[in-house]
């Protein structure tokens, strides 16, 4: 098992999400940067939907009690096993008693730790993704333990895999016009296309607000479905990008829809960073 010696700033268990219950109002959840979570699993030859740890800003301290392999993907965060630095995107062998600690984050904010075979916390509604009140806990806690299956084999980097994840740390995000894009004035459409947008301090697993605003408006819509990556426009002109834990319906116009990859890009941005929207028409 993994024992949480220190929980870190905001560490959660995530998989590819809780699908099939959105018509019950249950958010899909899952890894914010799905690209990096799935990459971790593929490097370990796990199924894509195996559960991983999502670590934000300040990492936890983890103790492993069985042999296994792990891999670190996502934000460029320093990490070491028993004091020896470990690389990114490379499988690392773990012995019983090994302690994984994290240091400074250089680029991005969310790092993923994949474990051979996946983390085996309890499934709720077919998923291990943390989301209160569906799951009891919303983040890992000190002294908490989580199971995984011991792995004695050897999958250590047999071939050198070159991973290109630079796109995660770029400014550009690719978006599609949303169902209500057409409500926007030509001027606001231009502003979206030409301007840059700053991630506000109001950002979490539910939504990222952007600081720059469009014109105030009175476009209410009848409540309708939303998705992770949907950009809502509030009456005051504020832009809200819904993220993995977002509600399943909303009453604000959906002016843009992020591409799957761009949700991962935004998930690696912190308050004050800028993004540029590439609107694919």
């Amino acid at each position: 098992m993994i024992k949480i010696r220190k929980p870190g700033f905001f560490t959660t268990v995530q998989d590819t999400g809780r699908t099939g219950y959105r018509d019950n109002g249950v958010p899909v959840s899952g890894a914010m940067d799905m690209f990096s979570a799935v990459l971790a699993n593929r490097l370990l030859d796990n199924r894509d939907k195996a559960a991983v740890l999502e670590i934000a800003m300040t990492g936890p301290v983890l103790e492993f009690s069985e042999p296994t392999h792990i891999v670190m993907t996502g934000a460029a965060m320093h990490a070491d096993v028993n004091g020896t630095a470990i690389p990114h995107n490379r499988v690392v062998k773990i012995k019983p008693g090994d302690i994984l600690s994290f240091g400074k984050v250089e680029k991005g904010i969310r790092t993923y730790i994949g474990v051979k075979g996946g983390i085996k916390t309890k499934k709720v509604l077919h998923s291990r993704s943390y989301f209160v009140p569906v799951t009891e806990s919303g983040r890992v806690a000190v002294e908490q333990t989580m199971e995984y299956s011991a792995f004695e084999g050897d999958i250590e980097n047999l071939i050198e895999i070159k991973i290109d994840n630079d796109f995660l740390f770029e400014q550009e995000v690719r978006v599609y016009p949303g169902p209500e894009f057409g409500l926007l004035s030509a001027e606001d459409q231009d502003r979206l296309e030409q301007g840059s947008f700053t991630v506000s301090a109001q950002n979490n697993r539910m939504a990222y607000q952007l600081e720059e605003r469009l014109s105030p408006n009175e476009f209410g819509i009848i409540t309708s479905a939303t998705l992770p990556g949907t950009v809502q426009l509030t009456p005051s002109g504020k832009l809200i990008v819904l993220m993995r834990d977002c509600q399943t319906t909303g009453g604000y116009p959906r002016i843009l829809q992020f591409s799957e990859r761009s949700i991962s890009v935004l998930a690696q941005k912190r308050a004050g960073e800028e993004i540029k929207l590439n609107i694919l028409r």
Binding site: T19, G20, Y21, R22, D23, N24, G25, V26, P27, V124, L125, P133, V134, Y176, G178, P179, I221, I222, T223, S224, A225, L227, G229, T230, Q247, T248, T249, G250, R254, Q257, F258, S259, E260
Partner: protein, 231 residues
């Protein structure tokens, strides 16, 4: 809508016949696609979220060709009877609301329990139903300052709609009572038994009865009263 979903929209009206058409179409898509897609109906729209969607134009064509089949579908209809305690400790905004509207507590209760509501959408929170059909005498704007904590089970009025908070949550609706029935239960096979398109009626219970129902639901003894029919 994005890379994996197709949004189907009907004329922009809050209208039961529109919702029924949405639900009939949902039925057809469910039969055709099974678990290959997830469906989120609400008021006048249906979001079809595919597990894999490589050719959007082709799927749109298929959806268009399926649409006429909905006419032959009969819908299973259900009416749920939900107990609500309107007594003082639960009706956090009852006094303000009745003094603004010039009503008595009794008329508020009889207006709220008199109507048969339609579930137009489930969203905002797991198990939160948007119920249409509120008596216009009870329309009330959301509170200017939303509460940080609305208690679990709180029954509220927001604009022209009413609903129940399935969990403790922040919220701006005017709270007039509380229901002991859990609307969202992750330990159940179907965490939310009431579905979009179902009907809901409230009936008043005293505090003692409320407490009893709360115990009965916790032990699994309480059965929500419901009627079912096909149209």
């Amino acid at each position: 809508m994005g890379e994996k979903a197709i949004l189907v929209e009907w004329p922009e009206r809050i209208d039961e016949t529109v919702l029924e058409d949405v639900l009939r179409f949902r039925h057809i898509i469910r039969e055709k696609y099974g678990n290959a897609c997830e469906l989120v109906p609400a008021y006048h729209s249906l979001l079809v979220i595919f597990r894999k969607l490589s050719d959007t134009d082709k799927e749109i064509k298929i959806l268009r060709s399926l649409y006429p089949e909905r006419k032959h579908k009969s819908l299973k209809r259900r009416l749920w009877y939900i107990p609500v305690c309107y007594e003082a400790g639960f009706g956090l905004d009852t006094d303000t609301l009745i003094s603004e509207k010039g009503l008595t507590a009794e008329t508020l209760i009889s207006l709220h329990t008199g109507a048969e509501y339609t579930v137009y959408a489930i969203g905002f929170l797991p198990g939160f139903m948007y119920l249409g059909g509120l008596d216009p005498g009870l329309y009330a704007p959301r509170r200017e300052e939303p509460r940080l904590k609305v208690p679990k089970g709180a029954v509220g009025i927001g604009g022209k709609q009413t609903g129940i908070y399935p969990q403790e949550s922040p919220g701006g609706w005017n709270i007039i009572g509380n229901s002991p029935i859990p609307l969202f239960d992750v330990s159940a096979k179907k965490p939310c038994r009431i579905r979009v398109g179902d009907k809901v009626k409230f009936f008043p219970v005293r505090k003692a009865e409320y407490d009893l129902i709360a115990i009965e639901t916790a032990t699994g003894v309480y059965k929500i009263k419901k009627e079912e029919w096909h149209d």
